[in-house]
Amino acid sequence: MNQIALKELLFRLADDEVIIGHRNTEWTGLGPIVEEDIAFASMAQDELGHAQIYYSLLHALGEADPDRLAFLRDASAFHCAQLVELPKSDWAFSVARQFLYDAAETVRLAALSQSAYAPLAQAARKFAGEEKYHFMHGKTWVTHLGQATAESRARMQAALDHAYPYALGLFETAEADAAMAAEGLCAPEVELKRVWLALITPILTEAGLALPTAAPVEGGRRGQHTEHLTALLNDMQLVFRSDPEAVW
């Protein structure tokens, strides 16, 4: 098995989850209603749990332990798409991002359930059931806000227009992608993107929202990030880096 391709795939999965998980914790105590406070905190807990498991798979392949992978790498070593590192912004943006991200995760986990790397396929089958709750949440809010009032529809559309080019970056490819597909580690990104579009388009139409047309914002999979990731890591890694040898 091509270890370089496998590790790159696992880093993308883990880094997407740990960063969006951290962003979603930022709604704790600030959600517009208490149920949403709890929903975002719960989704964050799932995402951080999934990240820990992906990092554990990397550790089993000879990488550092999960804590060190999450808390001691600099921004340029992260393989997450830029979508997940953007600030949580207003409620509409967080809902739009979560909807687009969870739709992509739904599609990706279904494909990974067939991965030739058995530990990854088992984890994906496990996460897919939990992810159904996340996607239902995003779909419910996008539909509701799209249909509610002129203001909620306009704000939802603006948030979608902002998030969409970055969401396309979830399907960015790099050199290792040919090996990932050839070895049956995951379906090709272009195929995942096609299924993702078929999933989100009817939901947006039903919500009265337009599917944006925009060029993808890429670079994240190659370690190119916005300044927001550095700021996020400064926060997220501060305590661990103050004493990496501490026992908790």
Partner: protein, 159 residues
């Protein structure tokens, strides 16, 4: 050499710290038991992958098995098979209900989240209930309201 039945009986003492009335056996968390000469290995399949109670239950299971006099004990986390809510035993369902936590309905086929809405109130048994939020105080709980006895209650989520 111990029998599987003796091991499962011992593991009845290990509870989920977030639901301290139901054992890890009744919750369907035990995915496998292997018994050798002075050696026991069990596999635990967690309810939710990010559940913070998993490590506590894993360590307590090892401790409980060592108390049986076995030297070499190992409890491992697995996702094969992935846990689903049909694995909760009838005794487990009854104890969840008594704890005030509605057990998820048994399902056939793949998980469809429409199923989360159809749940009987654990206090009065009425099916005139509404889903308030699919996310609750722990990863595994949803929040509902009973129109009959007019109380909020939680459901252990179907998975």
């Amino acid at each position: 050499m111990l029998t599987e039945a003796e091991i499962l009986t011992a593991l009845q003492d290990v509870k989920d710290p977030e639901i301290p009335v139901v054992s890890i056996v009744e919750m369907g968390l035990i995915a496998g038991v292997e018994i050798g000469e002075d050696r026991v290995r069990i596999r635990i399949t967690p309810t939710f992958a990010g559940c913070p109670a998993v490590e506590v239950m894993r360590a307590e299971a090892e401790q409980r098995l060592r108390a049986l006099g076995v030297q070499n004990v190992k409890a491992e986390i697995t996702f094969d098979p992935p846990w689903d809510s049909n694995r909760i035993s009838e005794a487990g369902r009854r104890k969840l209900r008594e704890f005030g936590l509605a057990p998820p309905r048994r399902r056939e086929g793949a998980l469809d989240l429409i199923q989360i809405q159809f749940v009987a109130c654990p206090y009065c048994g009425s099916e005139d209930t509404v889903l308030e939020s699919a996310f609750g105080p722990t990863l595994c709980r949803a929040i509902h309201y009973c129109n009959n006895c007019r109380q909020s209650f939680e459901q252990f989520k179907p998975l």
